[in-house]
Symmetry: C2
Subunit: 348 residues, 2 copies
């Protein structure tokens, strides 16, 4: 049995498929996660300037699911590619993701993230701003160190995704002051802000594994649908999850009047009376816990919560179906399906 925490041995025999007994999905996840965490540490391994690297390390040591790099590595593995050779791309995506978190937290004025003070809260806005910039730079440095004939291609895709992330964030903020956001506009926004990075991971993984164009395309759809499901699930968790597990305030989306799936759906489907009640809450300066619960009850009555859950299922189904053509050639999409279950069932 391979010792998962034995760094030297895992470096020599990195692929879980080389184990004597097949690892479970959970073992594989934890193995990938550990390797990613090690590689991240190497990518940000500088001491000075202290005001740049300290907040970067703080951010990257904040834990998190490492969903994006794990997805990338699982995709490579599914197509029989070299998981170790894809590690820089996986780390780059995680650095880029954390850049968006640090800068978004400044814009949203969020005080906590993953149960800890956000960077701008612990230091100040300038430090957080610069730490985010540094993370983008380190992400590109790591990505461009990829040894592959596809490095230029994945770097171009990575950049297009970064532009979409910026567009998604801009739309998200524009929507905050609008009450007429349509479901299509909302879906376009989250496809850029959340799903884009996940589809990038699946695409890059397929390309690095020398997948065919059909496989790259199929896995892009898989990543995108997974991302859409993930974000709608996230919107739901804002008012249904245990805040302690979530690591952020209960109902923080509602308090910021974020146009989530829930609010967009509710504002469109509410009766005139229900809509008036919702608008009354949204007009307030501050919304307290009891009011968040009353808004949740309104969402329940309007049918918003069940519709959100149904939307998550629909996207999970699209993701699952996108794997069918790949299964004909390869038999190793099990982990990608397991990942869908994980996203579907997550509680925080």
């Amino acid at each position: 049995m391979l010792a998962w925490n034995d760094h030297e041995r895992t470096r020599l025999r990195p692929l879980p498929t080389t184990c004597v007994s097949m690892p479970t999905f959970e073992e594989k996840l934890s193995f990938f996660k550990q390797q990613i965490v090690e590689r991240i540490a190497r990518a940000i391994d500088s001491e000075t300037p202290v005001s740049l690297y300290e907040p970067i390390k703080y951010t990257m040591q904040g834990g998190g699911k490492r969903l994006r790099p794990v997805l990338l590595l699982l995709t490579v593995e599914a197509l029989g590619g070299d998981v170790q050779a894809a590690m820089p791309a996986a780390v780059a995506v995680e650095l880029l993701h954390n850049f968006t978190l640090v800068h978004d937290d400044i814009m949203d004025n969020d005080a906590t993230r993953r149960g800890r003070a956000t960077v701008h809260e612990k230091w100040d806005t300038s430090v957080a701003l610069l730490a985010g910039d540094g993370l983008v730079a380190l992400a590109y440095q790591t990505l461009l160190s990829t040894q592959s004939p596809h490095t230029l291609r994945i770097s171009r895709l990575f950049t297009t995704a970064l532009i979409d992330l910026c567009k998604g964030q801009a739309l998200d903020r524009e929507f905050e002051t609008r009450d007429d956001v349509s479901m299509d506009e909302y879906l376009d926004m989250i496809s850029k802000k959340t799903a884009r990075l996940l589809s990038l991971c699946a695409q890059m993984g397929a390309i690095l594994a020398n997948g065919t164009e059909d496989q790259v395309q199929a896995l892009k759809v898989y990543g995108e649908s997974l991302g859409m499901a993930f974000q709608i699930q996230d919107d739901l968790l804002d008012i249904t999850a245990d805040p302690e597990k979530l690591g952020k305030d209960f109902g923080s989306d509602i308090r910021q009047k974020k146009k989530t799936f829930l609010l967009v759906h509710a504002l469109r489907q509410a009766s005139p009376k229900q809509k008036q009640q919702l608008m009354d809450y949204l007009d307030r300066e501050a919304i307290d816990d009891a009011e968040v619960i009353r808004i949740r009850d309104l969402f329940e009555d309007i049918g918003t919560l069940s519709e959100a859950k149904a939307a998550v299922q629909r996207y999970i189904k699209i993701a699952e179906d996108s794997l069918t053509p790949i299964e004909k050639v390869h038999a190793s999409t099990d982990s990608l399906k397991d990942l869908l279950r994980l996203v579907q069932q997550r509680q925080a």
Copy 2:
């Protein structure tokens, strides 16, 4: 005579060296600048999201010397390379430079830049933050569109330069709260914050022109020395230039207690009495115009202004000397020397 403002003709006959009569250096500069401005407009040509692209366009239409892309194109030309093929790299550097300006203005809380309101002043911090992020993304998009066997190499250099820019900015901010900054620390900071981008331009230009490694190295030294001269000149202009021409407040570095060449030198060379006077000014909450003038007089007495001017000359000399090995092979370093004069003599 080639019509410099005739886009179609210039696109067909892009190199000033193909003119019937040789263009003057000024004509060449204005020709390059015009082409760069056109290419920038194409690189940022999107309408939505409005909150992302409007501030990006505002920033890029703010004028400026376009020194960095011009330097890159002059380097390509000096080595007989294809100027048009280097255009994306030139535009990328200008986009990256403007990203640093937008984010630095947030950190420094500067209200004006090039005689206009800064982005965070005209909109707000979040808009400026995101516009800066978008500029980095668009810079990479443009850079990675370069059609050259060297695209990957220049992208790696570009990224190392971006990391250095972040480090330089972090040091600059760390120095604000320190009174014991040495001249070596100051020079290291500006080599990262200012000179690095100029050396990148010269390096990228030489690489794209298929220069030898010796030429790439020589031009890197040229760009770096030009950059050092440029920054020390900039420090001087803060208290010697006409504020209207400068487009920013008179003595704004002093008011922010920035560790410029002047302040670092003066604090080290002042007599105990002069140092006390300087510290008294620096301890104040706000410094008015009359006090800035008194600090300038102190700099004069300490010998700081003449030492700064001498330092500019020394770096210009290093830059000039670095061109000698290139002249043996090519005879077209005249423009690179003209550029040194321009930096040396600039008034704003």
